[in-house]
Symmetry: C2
Subunit: 435 residues, 2 copies
């Protein structure tokens, strides 16, 4: 039985899960993959705090670079996070001809091109299966399972915190702030929740999926990102009445003419759609391929054991490659500018829309806004006027919800701006994409 040496750098939540999994399931992993995976060491600045794992003596060290450089370490597993020491560890490991496994979305987003080029240059693996979707083998499925498919679109529910908040708002009719506070209390949301609820975590992940699906490198700052902060429960309720649930959806879609639409925003999903059934902290990715049609991958997107499962799966793959004599698998690294897609401009993206307007209560107002929408090329698919609250009555406005036919975002915004300027509505109407 051949043996592959592994060094774990970063002994936090996921690191501890990986160590536990490697030790506990050693014989299972060996039986399944034909390689024995030997844990050579674990590096962390803090090697005193117990992590709930029995670590064999002598494995812990505070010197990450020395561990990663050891002769008997073939695979370096980077679980520190961030772009500081993590970057240095990975760079030195790749340059020394070692395979690297990481779950570091941020580093991949910022330094991915450089690191993948380095891996290619040195003929070694750089795997990152745990960076998107936690325990769901979505990276692997895109890389290998759908290799013969042109990818038409990828839709993802990629952030467990947001999905948990949305699920509870939908079930209970609660306010965003109240559910967020509860989620923080329960440990489902960070004290500073911005990365999650403002959509940036989701954006990092869709950029990684886009790079795999389309062979493009997409700068995070160029895509349109909208989170769920301050989502109004009235929209959750109106959506429900119309047969939809609101999900924070990441979209990456080929829209012809070598244009890619990449965006993150709250989106109405029909209740009959598989993605609508994805509740609580679960994640899911729907991929529409040219041969498979829709396939969907669902599971826990975060958490110690689920993420560790993905890391160990990567370790097993690169270990198999190394013992098979091929230091780098002949597998697609995320292609770096191998294709010539350009980003679709946000105003050119086409979608059906949910629009909520506070329409001035006066004869002919509904007719006027409908006409204005039509003038801008936006057709109404469904419309409903809702009972006004006392305060709304007093102010002289009534809530109206419309669902549009597919329309250009820029056209919708132009129409809504004109409607607002003409005083037909109280303020700029709220709108959301529909799946």
């Amino acid at each position: 039985m051949k043996e592959i040496g592994v060094g774990i750098v970063g002994f936090g939540t996921v690191g501890a899960g990986v160590v536990e999994g490697l030790l506990k399931e050693a014989s299972l992993i060996t039986r399944r993959c034909g390689v024995s995976i030997a844990l050579r060491g674990i590096a962390d600045l803090d090697i005193k705090t117990p992590r709930g794992v029995d670590v064999p003596p002598g494995l812990l060290t505070t010197d990450a670079l020395a561990l990663a450089a050891r002769e008997d370490v073939d695979v370096v597993v980077e679980l520190i996070g961030g772009t500081g020491i993590a970057y240095t560890v990975i760079k030195q490991a790749l340059e020394a001809g070692k395979a690297v496994v990481t779950a570091n979305k941020k580093l991949l987003a910022e330094k991915g091109e450089e690191l993948f080029a380095l891996a290619r240059l040195h003929g070694v693996d750089l795997y990152f299966g745990a960076s998107v979707g936690g325990g769901i083998p979505i990276i692997r499925s895109l890389r290998d399972g759908l290799v013969a498919n042109e990818i038409h679109a990828v839709y993802g529910i990629l952030n467990g915190t947001c999905n948990y908040i949305l699920t509870r708002m939908s079930r209970e009719g609660s306010d965003f702030e109240a559910v967020l506070a509860d989620a923080q209390r329960l440990g489902y949301a960070e004290a500073n929740p911005s990365l999650d609820i403002d959509g940036f975590d989701t954006a990092h992940k869709i950029c990684i999926l886009a790079s795999l699906a389309y062979g493009v490198s997409i700068p995070l700052e160029e895509i349109a990102v909208q989170g769920i902060r301050g989502l109004n429960p009235v929209d959750v309720r109106y959506a429900d009445e119309l047969g939809y649930v609101i999900k924070l959806l990441a979209v990456c879609k080929a829209c012809g003419n070598k244009r890619l639409e990449v965006r993150v925003n709250p989106t109405l999903v029909p209740k009959t759609h598989m993605l609508a059934s994805v509740s609580d902290v679960f994640n899911a990715v729907l991929v529409n391929g040219s041969m498979t049609g829709d396939t969907l991958y669902y599971g826990k997107g975060a958490g110690r054991a689920a993420t560790a499962s993905a890391v160990i799966s990567d370790i097993a793959s690169v270990a198999r490659h190394r013992v098979s004599g091929a230091p780098r698998a002949m597998e697609p690294l995320p292609a770096i500018a191998t294709t010539d897609y350009a980003l679709q401009r946000p105003e050119d993206c086409i979608s059906r829309f949910y629009v909520r307007l506070m329409v001035r209560e006066a004869c002919g107002m509904v007719g006027r806004f409908a006409t204005l929408l039509g003038n801008h090329g936006v057709s109404i698919f469904a419309a409903s006027q809702h009972e006004a609250t006392d305060a709304q009555c007093a102010a002289g406005y009534v809530p109206v919800v419309i669902l549009t036919q597919p329309a250009r975002t820029g056209d919708l915004v132009a129409a809504l701006t004109e409607i607002t300027e003409q005083g037909i509505v109280q303020s700029m109407p709220l709108f959301m994409c529909m799946l």
Copy 2:
């Protein structure tokens, strides 16, 4: 760029899809997997009938064995089906040191042990990703993505014909026979539909998934298989009223003491469950792993393009292994008796149950059967008496539906048998498992 030669044996629906995909997406596949896949030939007894694919001249042959034996064919793709010539082609290819890709469930079920041993002996790949779940990369996910997970359970909707029929019965309240006839007319069911609707196709597939998940070889004839033939629409309706849908579910579950429960039968699935949203011809597999918890894989389980996608994905994988210098990937072949699981006896399987009884209309009857169930250790979770039809009234029986707490199958059967023998019900009650 290295080149790998492929010979396709069997130019039916899937074969034509594979040829089309390989020709059409050649540059995409090469870019993604770093290997050029060269189609050397296509063998079929019928090389005259057009398949809707432009085949370059000189590729077609009627001599399958000669094609598979060619020096420049590195990978043999068997898409004939059955256990005759398909077996000979695969055997000779493996013995000649070629990699083999097949979608042949039946052959794997009957001769899998022998063929996998042969592949192991000759150090070559034998891939079968298209044998379960069509375009869904479930085999790959179980093999690689969940490598660190002990598998607690696998639940699958694995037959598109059955799921189509069940979806329509549920939506329309239609009779089984009427929907089957319609499905046959539309091409969703075979003229002889037994393999599908009696559950055998599903059983073949769950045996393959069980072999991957648990390292056991399960003889098809030893597992309990019940299809959907003759499913009564009244049960579909009662299930709906109780918040469930009926799915033909394949189950493979570790139930402690090294026992495996493997079965195929119509099962009530709660409407809030992801598997309940799997409609029409779609398939899905839910895997509960020790580290990931639940993960689910969804997509088209059959059809030319989806199945061809899985075949090409396998071709790409074995091609990469060959150019990397490792003729056989260090990947788990389905383990052959590498573990010591035994099948749980059907009567020892524990489940919640749906039971429909025609209870004699007389004082105390409901009390009597409830008591008898209790005497056999079966607890009632919910019960409802339904309005009797005129015919039922005339006969003196009323329909009653109960849902049980988890119970031993043998205990339930014993209780129902006694209830029947005592004349409390018109005939042996119908029962179904619940998820």
